[in-house]
């Protein structure tokens, strides 16, 4: 057997694969920039602290340039490495999402990090590294690169979760995130190994070709373990348990990053694997994801209702939102699946939702950070009477909450509508039932979102302290960006680009 493999090595002549530098440019720029930041930090040490955030932010914007040019170019689908790495509309949209998210994370981190006396440069480098993993993830169409990307996303995040290293909660957050993440990786990998074993392929398209419904028990195990591995990343119930704890303990900007980017990365991987590799396995994947979606949104909402800490509440709300986003995958067999470029209403609706959800979530966290600058608290009751002393923040937060709740005309309603539409597109009983569960959950969710709104608008000022909240410029910019994106998203601005 060993001989055979050696022979295999001997037989194949190494051919340098052609690299489309334009297509790889975003990743390369970000990589280079990350390295540059590290070098600058090493050279200038403390002196670089002042401009490090701006520099890091610029890196994300710089990487956005090739994304835009790629979008504009005629070549809609660029494939590299024999189909293992694909740059198409789907991946470009998500790359843009991750880069913008990265930029906004930098904006909201700037003062948080500077005021908190933590290492900054490394922090930004780690963010860059994590975002790099996400960029790779969007294009990865091979089990190996997906695995590498997912770890590239996660490992920096483990570190950043424990960033406030003298804080026990932060330590605990990091620990839990790390342990659960690694364990989930183990399960994921076990599943992937089985998948490889069944098909002999690591490329997703190859897997799809090789798979048929034979050998169901093993295949089912493979599929389920793989999907569950991603379920961890998207914090689907019952693999969500790390999320609230980590969110609460980690530095809030990092929480925002985890809640938005990391989760999106999980969805990206899940979409790629399910849509490209498992198009014929809907008999297993659909019911599995149906259960996950229904349980996730319900449990997430129920738990969110009982939270008193706003970050924790947002964490659970994020769990519930993940449930909504899983829903189209529970009926993913509806579309004509394209093995190279991911498209169709399932992917479109999820991506569309991800975009608006990202803007809203980032905005909400930005408000949380802004308010915490004054109140030093994450408790929901500390939002009492916010309207009286910070009407601007209140209005913004209200807009984000409305968006979360899926109430027109701002923000996520449209994404949610698309999810509904996709779920109902199946025209099956399961689809309709899931849609009804989603509908009821939307109402449940509104309860706790508007609980915050109630605190802000209707309640007396907490602690009788109605000094205004001072918002630093980067945070202001972040708020403006997110609210603009949320409002625009509600009016349908993203549906065009998310139409894959």
């Amino acid at each position: 057997m060993i001989d055979a493999s050696l022979a295999l090595v001997a037989e194949s002549e190494f051919v340098r694969p052609a690299i489309d530098w334009h297509a790889a440019a975003p990743e390369l720029i970000l990589l280079a920039w990350g390295a540059l930041v590290t070098v600058i930090d090493l050279i200038w040490l403390e002196r670089s602290r002042r401009f490090m955030p701006s520099l890091a932010g610029l890196g994300f914007l710089a990487a956005l340039v090739p994304v835009v040019t790629l979008w504009a170019s005629d070549d809609s689908v660029r494939t590299m490495f024999d189909g293992a790495y694909v740059v198409d509309k789907y991946s470009l949209v998500l790359k843009a999402l991750f880069l913008v998210t990265g930029y906004i994370i930098v904006l909201i981190s700037t003062n948080y990090m500077a005021d908190g006396d933590y290492y900054d440069s490394e922090y930004y480098q780690l963010i860059a590294a994590s975002v790099l993993g996400m960029l790779v993830m969007t294009s990865a169409r091979d089990l190996i690169s997906i695995f590498v990307a997912i770890e590239l996303v996660s490992i920096p995040a483990y570190l950043m979760a424990a960033w406030r290293k003298r804080d026990l909660k932060s330590n605990e957050a990091g620990l839990k995130y790390m342990l659960m993440g690694v364990f989930a990786s183990g399960i994921l990998l076990y599943g992937m190994s089985l998948l490889y074993g069944v098909t002999g392929e690591t490329k997703l398209t190859g897997i799809a070709e090789q798979l048929n419904s034979d050998g169901r028990p093993l295949l089912s195990l493979a599929v389920i373990f793989t999907v569950i591995g991603f379920g961890f990343k998207v914090s689907a119930v019952p693999f969500h348990t790390w999320a609230p704890d980590t969110y609460e303990g980690a530095p809030t900007p990092l929480t925002a990053f985890l809640a938005v980017a990391s989760k999106a990365a999980g969805f990206v991987a899940l979409l790629s694997v399910v849509l490209v590799a498992l198009p014929k396995q809907s008999d297993v994947v659909e019911p599995l994801l149906w259960i996950l979606a229904a349980v996730t949104m319900t449990v997430g909402n129920l738990l969110a209702m009982r939270q008193t800490n706003i970050v924790r509440m947002l964490a659970y709300s994020g769990v519930a939102q993940a449930g909504y986003m899983l829903a189209p995958l529970a009926v993913y067999s509806i579309g004509e699946l394209n093995s190279v470029a991911i498209g169709g209403s399932v992917a479109s609706s999820i991506v569309s939702y991800l975009l608006i959800y990202a803007a809203t979530n980032l905005g909400a966290f930005a408000v949380v950070i802004a308010v915490a600058r004054k109140t030093r608290s994450g408790e929901i009751v500390s939002y009492g009477g916010l309207f009286k002393y910070a009407p601007g923040l209140t209005v913004l937060m209200t807009i984000f909450l409305i968006s979360f709740a899926g109430v027109p005309p701002v923000g996520a309603w449209l994404g949610k509508l698309q999810l509904f539409l996709t779920v109902l597109e199946s025209q099956t009983v399961a689809g309709v039932v899931l849609a009804v569960i989603m509908a009821i959950n939307s109402v449940l969710a509104a309860y706790y979102y508007f609980f915050i709104a109630k605190q802000m608008w209707f309640m007396p000022v907490a602690n009788q302290d109605s000094a205004p909240v001072v918002i630093p410029a980067p945070l202001k910019l972040a708020l403006l960006l997110t609210v603009a994106l949320t409002l625009a998203g509600g009016l349908g601005a993203f549906t065009g680009i998310a139409n894959l």
Binding site: P408, P409, A435, V436, V443, F451, A453, F458, G492
Partner: protein, 513 residues
């Protein structure tokens, strides 16, 4: 000019208030008179466009949509910005255009506690846009969007400026309505897929349903979803429990708008969407809707008799009155639908007026407890007479607007659409007629205990209790005039609504054949 109206007229009417909102947001809170001025001006600007539309409306062709603007909006889900006005929506649009400016005028010196005219009026204008939008939308998704837009400003209005139990009331209002609209949305989307439609155009969907092979059971379920959405908004028994709380706790302006316009969104939805798109299911549902409607009539009236709070009593009376509207709709006849639309307008004017009075009474007496009131006619005779007038209108006195919503609804139940049980609906008719007595009972009882008699000692020499002031007069007089005018010239509305109602009614006649 006509060209402009034909294309952009409705859009201008609906969205002009948002310009005002933007302007007001930029103004500092302290410039209160200017803010009020801007609010009034924008609402009047909206009304101006509305009047232009109304005058250019072709009344001979009120069954068809006019001033249609149909442009692409969100292509991916085939949703279009598709708006128009026909005979069904026209009276309600006119009502909305009337009510908002008047409420703003009333707000001139009646900003409820805790103040902040800027935020209050901004919400009012957003509400205005939402209400108008709902009445002009021809696309289901657009309708849904506006339907929901209405929700939030009212939530905040109740929650911030409401009474002592405002928190409970506001969240209840919000969740109830959201629950309904979520299920309604599921129905909309399911309808879209099941028909294989390529747009959310209401008319097209209706046509497709009739040609498609959607089973009757499915249609009934779809109708059920819409029923939840619209029925809660109406509100129909037994989904009405949010209403008394919301009404009671809302500030006067909120109550007025809630009563005058918001409740009509539900009934309008039935007429505009549920009946035309799913006629077969409507026939199946109609007896149940009728049943709930008459239960609502009696139940609302009995609820009124139990009240000790004036505002809550008026709120409960809405349940009863909307029962007549729903009874009219449930007959699925042209007559019933005509009656329903008239009933909506009439209820809007009359109950709106009653809430105005209740608000002003509250402002003067600082209580609405019926036991403590009395002798309003002595202390503020004009207000007292207006209260008397409004109660008379509300109990369906002929010659005033309320009658034309009530009697034709009762009448239509005598002869429901083919396919419905005549005997059953005649039973409903008798019950509904009994409801008129109860209505007279609780309204006159209210009148007797608040307006008649002598003022109680605690208020006898209260200098705060003065008669209606100028801003109140300006806000009220149009209501009063319209209640009388519509009472004597019901044709003003029936002539507009008859053609489209007949079109719907005919649908059910054809259905039976």
């Amino acid at each position: 000019m006509t060209e402009f109206l034909d294309t952009w007229g409705i859009t201008a009417m609906v969205f002009v208030p948002l310009l005002g909102v933007a302007l007001m947001m930029a103004m500092p809170k302290t410039m209160e008179p200017a803010i009020k001025g801007v609010a009034l001006a924008t609402s009047l600007a909206s009304a101006f466009f509305g009047v232009l539309l109304l005058t250019n409306f072709n009344y001979d062709d009120s069954a068809s949509m006019q001033f249609v603007q149909d442009v692409s909006w969100i292509e991916i889900i085939n949703t279009r910005y598709n708006v128009g006005i026909d005979g069904i929506s026209l009276p309600l649009i006119a009502l909305t255009l009337l009510v908002t400016p008047l409420v703003i005028i009333y707000s001139w010196n009646h900003i409820p506690k805790p103040g902040n005219a800027k935020a209050f009026l901004i919400l009012m204008l957003i509400l205005h846009t939402g209400m108008l939008g709902t009445f002009v939308a021809k696309d289901l998704i657009l309708f849904f969007v506006f339907f929901e837009v209405v929700l939030l400003p009212m939530y905040f209005m109740i929650g911030v400026w409401g009474g002592p139990q405002r928190l409970y009331a506001s969240i209840k209002f919000f969740l109830y309505t959201l629950f309904g609209s979520a299920l309604m949305l599921v129905s909309f989307l399911a309808l879209y897929w099941l028909t294989g439609s390529e747009s959310f155009d209401i008319v097209k969907l209706g046509e497709l349903v009739s040609t498609s092979d959607i089973t009757h059971g499915t249609q009934v379920l779809l109708f059920g979803g819409m029923f939840m959405g619209f029925g809660i908004k109406v509100p129909m028994f037994p989904f009405h429990t949010w209403l008394p709380d919301a009404h009671t706790q809302a500030p006067t302006q909120g109550s007025v708008i809630l009563a005058a316009v918001l409740l009509k969104l539900g009934t309008y939805g039935f007429i505009r969407i549920a009946l035309p798109t799913l006629p077969e299911a409507a026939v199946t549902w109609a007896p149940w809707i009728g049943l709930l409607a008459v239960i609502g009539i009696i139940y609302g009236a009995l609820g009124c008799l139990a009240q000790t709070d004036m505002k809550r009593l008026i709120a409960f009376s809405s349940v009863a009155h909307m029962g007549y509207v729903m009874l009219g709709i449930s007959t699925l006849t042209d007559f019933g639908i005509n009656a329903a639309i008239f009933g909506m307008v009439a209820h809007g004017l009359i109950t709106g007026m009653l809430f105005f009075i209740a608000g002003s009474v509250k402002e003067r007496y600082h209580t609405l407890e019926i036991k403590r009131l009395g002798g309003l006619l002595l202390q503020a005779p004009r207000m007292g007479w207006i209260l008397g007038f409004a109660t008379m209108a509300s109990l369906g006195l002929p010659g005033l607007a309320g009658f034309w919503g009530e009697f034709p609804a009762i009448l239509s139940a005598y002869n429901p659409a083919p396919g419905l049980s005549t005997g059953l609906f005649r039973g409903y008719m008798v019950v509904a007629a009994l409801g008129t007595v109860l209505a007279a009972g609780y309204l006159l009882w209210l009148l007797q205990r608040t307006a008649f008699g002598k003022p109680s000692e605690e208020f006898a020499d209260d200098p705060e209790i003065v008669d209606a002031v100028l801003s109140e007069w300006i806000a009220w007089v149009p209501f009063l005039i319209l209640i009388v005018v519509l009472g004597f010239f019901p044709g003003l509305i029936f002539d507009i609504t008859d053609a489209p109602s007949t079109a719907i009614g005919d649908m059910f006649k054809v259905l039976d054949k």
